[in-house]
Symmetry: C2
């Protein structure tokens, strides 16, 4: 039902195909974030048509709202939101750990729903049950996210529980229709990361999320850690860098052999007026844009850039017209899609280094 | 450049064609409201493709933001927002009169911009200058809007100034590329309305806005007033009922021979979760919708109804996902477009009364 194949490598960068019942996803791929079953402001059709074959959702958020019952009653998450591509659910570990919790131990977490006040007990078994009901194609284990990146004790607990919980997730997982991926924790501590990878590898997961990064550590340490982890995940397993990144970060992580990415930033910053272009990012709300009749990015061929001017989109933001956020979100995601196509194409041609150099020199010039 | 022709009448209801350099608009027609150069949350392309051939914008709002210079620099309002159909600008009289003003006399109004604090002096000449620069196809005279519907003194001042200002607007109007329409004031007072129509008719406008209604008076009085005014506007002139209405109101006003409508309600209520259907309106946020896998309206063939379920759209509203407002806005406007098509079709077939009866009995059943 699932297969993963390396098609081309260029250094450590690689183009692979991940096949599921939803079709083929070519990697490196970027997954737009649809936390609550919506890529903010955009339709599933738009996201698919701009070239994305996979999205990521959040099991915890979907459990809280609309609740699993509504999703199962509609025939699963794909039917619910009319998404025909690959769907992943993150367990929500990251979100659960960033909310105030009543109790937390070896066994799981009791969490108070911040809106309704209801108490929910999340265990690895419970999360898998939720993820199975939601019905994504790939589901992530419940991991224990460290709250501080450089506290060794916290990191040790994180890795220990993440491995124990992964085993319980695997035991609870009951369907071959979904592939379960493990999550690697350990902060920037190399020996803890190794411990975690070895622990998870004994369970023979088909894919690994690299978690617990971009939580405060410097980017150079992130990159060094990703490099180390990537080299230590067997080549035939999927490598998914969770929760980042921005265009330049993605290019650098592709060089290290990462296959899957997700990041809320491209759409989040879009709603604040930040526009991604091949010449770097800029803010469309800036006064300099008020008379610019050209597109957001002259090098972009998306529907927004081929229709609307910077002056118009700036006006929409200034007039608090939500269409501005919508158009900028569309453009930024289209940019991400094109970026991933360029990355894959350059790897296939054995020209990734050249692409990386050219891309970064243009993209980072203005920053 | 402009022409207006009656093609078919059925009682007082009529199907006409209004031709401009932007093509042909068949009436009765509903104009979506794009106050600040955006039909909220929707692209110009979407609005056009669902069958609308005319939109209304607001000269006062556009003067404040983005300012006329930005619009003229982009080549006029059509290019600015990429709208290829007919564009009307209301003068903004209604908006100006609902804001606190520093001074107001025979000559015009000094207004304090509520955001920037800047003082603006609006005279009939100034408004025409603004409307000419914005570059809509049809522009409305500056009228004096009564603040209270049943104060006779206020209504008298309103009619007097509206007629005087219309004359000044006409004198200031300098281009044949735009057609200038007058606005009829006078509240529900029949003799004041007659006085206003006669005053304006001496200036030989090609079209008339019916203003100053739906500001507190009972609907039956609105209808009676519209009927009276409509009968007293020469048949070869356009009749535009300004600022209303909802579906049932439009059907009733079409019976009285109204050609143009505009109303912000279909999109405004959409953003609050109210959905228009052929069986009346309902609120998609209602708990009853949580498990409904059918479309917003089973009788609707819009892209939203042929794709997404009530359960999904309800979830979007509950999760504060703006996509919910977008999808509901699209549906409600599509409904308005279909309604106008049905109205025109029934008039052409001489079956307007039958249509009206059937429509209202279904639409009003649930209300």
């Amino acid at each position: 039902m699932f297969s993963f194949k390396i098609n081309k490598t260029d250094g450590n960068a690689r183009v692979c195909t991940f096949v599921s019942s939803r079709g083929t996803v070519e990697t490196p791929c970027f997954m737009p974030v649809a936390t609550s079953a919506s890529v903010k402001l955009l339709t599933s059709e738009e996201v698919f048509s701009m070239g994305f074959k996979a999205i990521i959702l959040n099991a915890y958020h979907l459990f809280i709202r609309p609740g699993v019952e509504i999703i199962t009653n509609s025939g699963g998450i794909h039917r619910f939101m009319k998404w025909d591509g690959l769907a992943l659910t993150d367990s929500g570990g990251f979100q659960i750990f960033s909310l105030p919790c009543s109790r937390e131990d070896e066994d799981g977490i009791i969490l108070k729903d911040p809106e309704s006040g209801a108490l929910h007990y999340f265990t690895p078994e419970k999360i898998i049950e939720i993820e199975e009901k939601i019905g994504a194609d790939v589901i992530m284990c419940l991991d224990y996210c460290p709250r501080i990146w450089d506290n060794l004790e916290e990191l040790k607990i994180s890795v220990h529980r993440t491995v124990v919980w992964a085993k319980r997730c695997l035991a609870a997982h009951s369907t071959e229709k979904q592939q379960l991926w493990g999550i690697i924790q350990g902060g920037t501590d190399i020996s803890l990361r190794i411990w975690c990878i070895e622990g998870l590898e004994r369970m023979e997961f088909n894919g690994y999320g690299i978690g617990g990064l971009s939580i405060g550590e410097p980017w150079e340490m992130t990159l060094k850690t990703v490099d180390f982890i990537s080299r230590n995940i067997p080549g035939n397993k999927v490598r998914y860098l969770m929760g980042l990144g921005m265009p330049d970060q993605i290019v650098e992580a592709c060089e290290l052999g990462i296959d899957f990415f997700d990041c809320a930033m491209p759409t989040r910053i879009a709603r604040n007026g930040t526009t991604l272009t091949w010449n770097g990012k800029f803010n469309i709300k800036a006064a300099a844009c008020k008379d610019e009749n050209g597109p957001l990015d002259p090098e972009c061929s998306c529907r927004v850039c081929s229709t609307y001017s910077r002056a118009y989109i700036r006006h929409l933001f200034n007039a608090h017209e939500m269409l501005g956020m919508r158009l900028n979100s569309y453009h930024n995601l289209y940019f991400m899609s094109e970026l991933m196509k360029m990355i894959r194409s350059s790897i296939k041609q054995g020209k990734f280094q050249e692409f990386k150099k050219n891309f970064l020199s243009k993209y980072q010039r203005k920053e």
